[in-house]
Symmetry: C2
Subunit: 208 residues, 2 copies
Amino acid sequence: MLYSANDIQNMDQRYRANFINCLSGFKSANLLGTTSTSGQENLAIISSVFHVGANPPLLGMIMRPHTVPRDSLQNIKDTGVYTLSAVGTEFTEQAHQTSARYNDSEFAAVGLTPTYSATHQAPYVQEARLRIGLEVKQIEKIELNQTELVIGQIVEVYVDNSVVSIDGYIDLEQLQTSCVSGLDTYHKSSRINRYGYAKPDEPLAKIN
Amino acid sequence: MLYSANDIQNMDQRYRANFINCLSGFKSANLLGTTSTSGQENLAIISSVFHVGANPPLLGMIMRPHTVPRDSLQNIKDTGVYTLSAVGTEFTEQAHQTSARYNDSEFAAVGLTPTYSATHQAPYVQEARLRIGLEVKQIEKIELNQTELVIGQIVEVYVDNSVVSIDGYIDLEQLQTSCVSGLDTYHKSSRINRYGYAKPDEPLAKIN
């Protein structure tokens, strides 16, 4: 079926939110860790993290102005730092529960454990097997819909080096990292194939 | 193991590219379809598509200046329109092969079929079970690394309505949509759970 721009415009707001949020495909599931200037820890599920570049190492994310992570955005503006902890397949429920509107720390409320490195000021999720520390580099309002684009530079990464291949590839599957579709659905993955560098008129190599 | 900013800076370039590209987690696998002003069709695998907002319905993507999709970016600038076709789990190899530097259309070179709707000027992949037509709304250089942020508005969506739930959720798994980790690894998914709207002091509901 072909849905036109009019069909989309005429959808009920919640229906459209589900429908459009599915269109970009599978998304990463991360927990965004921050601290307020008064020392209050904050943890928020976020599925909008995307790769911006490897050198310098940059990640972007989209923050909606009227959703729960607004506290996170204020904390990032105030402190300049944040963390991303990959959501493992065994704690998707606790991760999703961070989207409830708590007054106190989401860590204690949902049963996840804050942990710190000696070199970064924002809290990580101890249960996460991949943790990224970032410093904010750019915050910009997207005028088309008043969301905020946040770009940060990766300043440290915690991951067991047994899952890092000789060429730098990190096996997210071995880490049991989950992914998200739409607003609320979590998935685990299984590998189809890893492919080599593609060249015209050569069959694509498979890497194992 | 904790990788410091220095450790990352000192990585070999290809190693760092693999390592950093894995950090954001699982990514969507889409084929970007465009046409040049002279009518040449172009198809490029892209894993940087992300949700920007549902109303208006907006998708973003990051285009690197010196990689293959530069033809795609020029086509988008010239024609104002493009398509995204979700990569099915059975054609990940053809999809990845579009990243080779072809002089002619990638459609014929990799064995995928261009198809058009009556209402959009850019080509879709007929083999894809989810296809999105977009009009470009914003192109902006990210000064931090000279990549280009492209934001488009969704103007039509082709998907079988049997996979669209009563609340608008699209079952990407039933569509057998693939996802990507790093630069070159494709995965299929299996659902862990769909969760309800989270509230403090209430157990999280599961939706089936």
